[in-house]
Structure formats: C-alpha cells, structure tokens
Point group: C2
Chain length 366, copies 2
Amino acid sequence: MKILHTTPAADGFFMPAEFEEHDGCFMIWPERADSWQYGGIAAKKAFAKVAMAIAKSEEVTMLASAAEYDTARRMLPEYIRVVEMSTDDAWARDCAPTFVKNKEGEVRGIDWYFNAWGGLVDGLYFPWDKDNKVARKVCDLERLDCYDARDFVLEGGSIHSDGEGTVMVTEACLLSKGRNPDMTKDEIEEKLKQYLGAKKVIWLERGIYNDETNEHVDNICAFVKPGEVVLAWTDDEEDPQYELSKSCYDILSQETDACGRKIVIHKLPLPKPICMQKEECEGLAWMEDEPTRTDGERLAASYVNFYISNGAIVMPSFGDPADHAAAEILGELFPEREIIPISARDILIGGGNIHCITQQLPKAVR
Amino acid sequence: MKILHTTPAADGFFMPAEFEEHDGCFMIWPERADSWQYGGIAAKKAFAKVAMAIAKSEEVTMLASAAEYDTARRMLPEYIRVVEMSTDDAWARDCAPTFVKNKEGEVRGIDWYFNAWGGLVDGLYFPWDKDNKVARKVCDLERLDCYDARDFVLEGGSIHSDGEGTVMVTEACLLSKGRNPDMTKDEIEEKLKQYLGAKKVIWLERGIYNDETNEHVDNICAFVKPGEVVLAWTDDEEDPQYELSKSCYDILSQETDACGRKIVIHKLPLPKPICMQKEECEGLAWMEDEPTRTDGERLAASYVNFYISNGAIVMPSFGDPADHAAAEILGELFPEREIIPISARDILIGGGNIHCITQQLPKAVR
C-alpha cells in the first residue's frame, strides 16, 4: 500500500455514487458493551442479517476483533468473509476508507482522521485510535493505495456523492466544533472538492433530530440517481424534525447540481418517534465521560439510512406503519433492485443504522 | 471461505514444491517477549530484512498484532502488505496454512491442529489458541477454501514436498508423544498422503541436534528439485549432530522417491556450534512452565533453513566461515535465483530460522 500525499482530484480520482457497481462491502462486527445492549447478541444477529442480505449480490467482508472472531465466524455463513481487525466500535461507514476511482477504473482509499464524531468536544467515546487505523488497514488488506487526509476530520456518513461531481453534506456536522474548528466553510468545501473530486457541494443545514453524529447527511438525505434524492420527511409540524426536514427541502428546491440539474426530491416518510426503553438502557455498560442512553430518549430513526448493494436496497424497518410506504417508494425508485427490509431497532439503539454499518468498495477494473 | 471436510487427495489436490512459482509469502511480526530478546527490536529488524529480500520477487504479507501494527508498518517498506492478525508467536511456517493446489491451478489451504510443538507434553508455550486460528484466518483473508484437518497435529516445518508425490518428514517429530500419540506410523503416513496428495513418505529418523521443534525436517533436509535434496552436514564425528546427519544420509542413500528416482544428496555444511550468551538470556521475559533459554545452550543453526522465493534463495548466515561455502553450494543448485544471505542470529535465538518464519502461497490460476 502506498500512502499518497497528493489529492484525488489532482490525480483524476473522484467518489463514485453508491448506486454504481460495487466489488463488495465492509462491515464491522459489533461488540462494544456501551453501544450494544446485553452483550450485543441482538445486534450481532441484526448485523448478520444485513451482511447476508448484501451478500446476495456482492462480497461482504466482516471485520471482527480477535476476541469476537469465533463468534462472528459461527454466526455468519461461510460466504461472508471474516477478517480480523481491532476497532473501537462497529461503524464501517465512518471509519473504513471512503473509496475513490478514476476513469480507468482504478480504486484508491482515503484515510480521513476519525475522532468518534467530535473528539474531546462532543465525541461519543474515547479513545478512538483503533477506529482511526481502519481505513489504512482496509486499504492494505485490499492492496489499494491510500490518500493521507489525516489533517481533516471526516466520516463517510457525513458525505453523499452523486458520482457526477456533486457532494451533499450538512452544516450541522461539517461545521461542528468537534471536527475542523480552525477551517472556514469555504476551506472545508475546498477540501471536499479536492478529495472527492467534486465540482459542487450542496450544504444542507440540518439532519435528523437527536442524531448524535451531529446530524450526518446519510440519515436524512441520499442520492438515488444523479439529480434525484430521497429526503426523510414528516408532515407533523409539531415534531421537532419537521423544521429540520423542511429546511433541507427548501434548500434542495433552490439548488442545482454540478451538472446544472434541478434536484428532484422524493419524500420518504419517517417512522413515528422511536425511543429507548428502560430495559434496553439497563443492558448497556457504562463508560466514564461518555454520553449514555437514557430511558425515553428519542433515537434517530430514518428509512434514508439504507444501503444500496449491487442487487438490493437493504433498508431498515421499525415495525411502524410507515415501513410499508417507505419500502414502496424505494421500490419505485430502484425498480431493478430487490427491496430487503431488515428489522433494525437493535442497530438503531447503537446510534446508527444500515448505511452507517456498511461501506461499499466500488468496482475496480484490474 | 468454505471449510472442507473431504481430503485434498480425494479432490485432486496436492502440495506443490516450494521451488515452484508463488503468488506470495506470509510472515508474522515478532513480539513475544519470551521468544525475542530486548523487546524483539533486533528480531524485528531481521524479519524486515527477510521480508524485503523475499519481496524483491513476490508479494509479502506480514501479519501483525493490533499492538504492533504501527511499529510493523513503520519498520517495513510500503511494498510489504501488513495485515492485522493476533498470534501467539511468529512462526508462519508452522501455523499458517499448508497450501495445496490441483492441476487446474486452484489453491486451497489446510488447517492442521497447531499445539505449539508438543502441546502439554513438550510444547513450547501455552496457550496456542491464537496460532491455531491463523490458518483459517489466512484462508478467509485470501478467499481460499480450507480443509479441516484439525483432528491431526502438524506444523508446516515438519513436512517437505517435492511436488511430484514425495513427502519427507522426521520420525523424531511426527512420532513424538506431544502430537498424535494415538496414531500409528502407518496411520500418520496415510494422513499425510491424503492431505498432501503424496504417493510416498520418506521417513528420516532425526533432525538437527537440540532442535526444540522435535527436529523438524525443514532444518536438516530440503528438496532443491525432484530427486535432489540438500542435507545439513558435519564431518566432525565428535559433534552429536554427526550421527543425526549420518542417519539421514544413510536413509536417503537407500531411498527412491515416488517416481522411482534415487535421491541425489548434496551436503550443506553446518556452521560451528552457535550458543546462547548470557546477555541474550537476560533479554528474554520469563513465562511460567515454559522452557527458557540458558547461557551456553546450543542453538539449532542450519543453512538448510532457507526460503525459496520466486527469484531468490533467502538463506541464513551466521558469521561463520561456512557461510560462504553454503551460499556457493546453494548458488550452484539454484543457478537462476539470487542468493541472499541474511544475518540470522536474531531469528535463531527465537528457535527457528528463515524457513520457519515464512509460508509460501503457491501461484494460483484465477
């Protein structure tokens, strides 16, 4: 693995869209006792279901710690590749590499600095040294060269690319005090353009209410094709989420993408508020100086947090009446893909959802 | 990775010779404090030199623990692939998979049971659970199917194959009480034939004097081509090694291989006895219930413990007058390969040498 000190844009590389073809997907096996209740058994089962759904159409590599290797290997079918790797938690979207490719189909990784969503300001755990090595380790594993972007704090969940020069982010996250407080918005935008090969950055203001990632874009809005997005939506003006989704809608309605297209917005309904229960809170270990879930706390549930595999939309379901409507909308938007809903409460409790626990490897020409 | 419960021979697979073409080589980064003196710094440097010598002509993957990842990555050049893996020590030959292939060029691994060279009878450390998972983990890493041979204790260093149906072992090792005490010699031979696709097993009696692996064959005798071996040799009849080498010579002189060829024996001189020094012993951590090096203890030094890479013979040197003669002999036997001697005392102290710390991956047709 070569560590590259140039930038992807300068080398002709850009971030493809998730709906383009993949060579595979990385996930991380959950075990952190203060993230996953009751020994993470229910979370492990949910992760395994996600892995199996994705593996129907692309290779899945599950990264598992030495301590959890036997359990992961036993709970996953043989066709899931299990590779040992130590991590601090299980969010492959945020600590695995963001992959870029060039027109010849060469793929490389980007190693952003990962600081657990806010470092010592408002990060969610400490330390984060193991997570912060995942990107380099995955690149070495896959024999891919890796861009050194360790002077810039970013997570994969905070960016979406349409693969044609447009990147979408939220201000709440990218301008947060715990990430790159010494950079201006313009400097951050320039960094995104250099590393993602983008021509235009669409800045939404906010994400999903109470999303502890400082409101990652991947929980509220996602490209379904160039020029078209799904947006998490509620019609309930009393819901604190209403203003947040409305703000995104207003911005997107005014925006054009890098190719000059107006953005087509598909509203994806939100489930009714989903909250932590006392028994779930009691199943979590306690870590000093860390935020801890409390009984009744509203979780950042959203159907937008789906994963686009080569053959499917692997989407969260919540046992909510909106499950069906969301699946129908996604089915219409992705007519050539199977819609696979996975009951996701046990992932959501950890603080994210299916998109957060996956990272796609774009198809390379070798 | 599929775990296969058939046998390689039944599936048309066999163990190719080391001198056939490789796709790469696996090594394990040394860190065990009771094996590698003074924090293993000198050993790490020697391992890095071996890796670099091999990487001149084939890919090297260095397996390193999470704790040592940064150090390994810093001490190794970028062209060495570093992959996280937990192990109990650094002997890739013995705990990484033995690879077999078929005539179509498909490669698979074998997962023998590894018990640290003798388990609770005369094994060299306890526990050995991490080492015992390396074979499966490497197969999963490389997307290779893996034969389950976990009902049989074997290390890669205790077998040599000529790739044409002949396998060479020592009785001292394979019939030792700490490995498969409930199997007869015939049963063990049958197992070797089934798993290595061999037609004939040549049983040497003994290996190198004081070799704590119970005298692995790879320290005393190696195929240089079908029908030809190098044999570690001393002319000093007072040396306890003399009888051991003489026994091998006599057996090999009488033997034919699976193809009916008489064996051509090339004597490779041994260095003068190499012994532990007090200061080296003091640099080792102490582990309860384990054999520990003592001042003046003779080490199992042998030039036969070389690695055959695609382009080189990476061989140990000891600062002994025989270094030159051994290199010359190997140069004549491998005229198309570069001879690369590496000063190996810092590896030898750990209990083995260059062949012991490497495991070749045969070239696959994909």
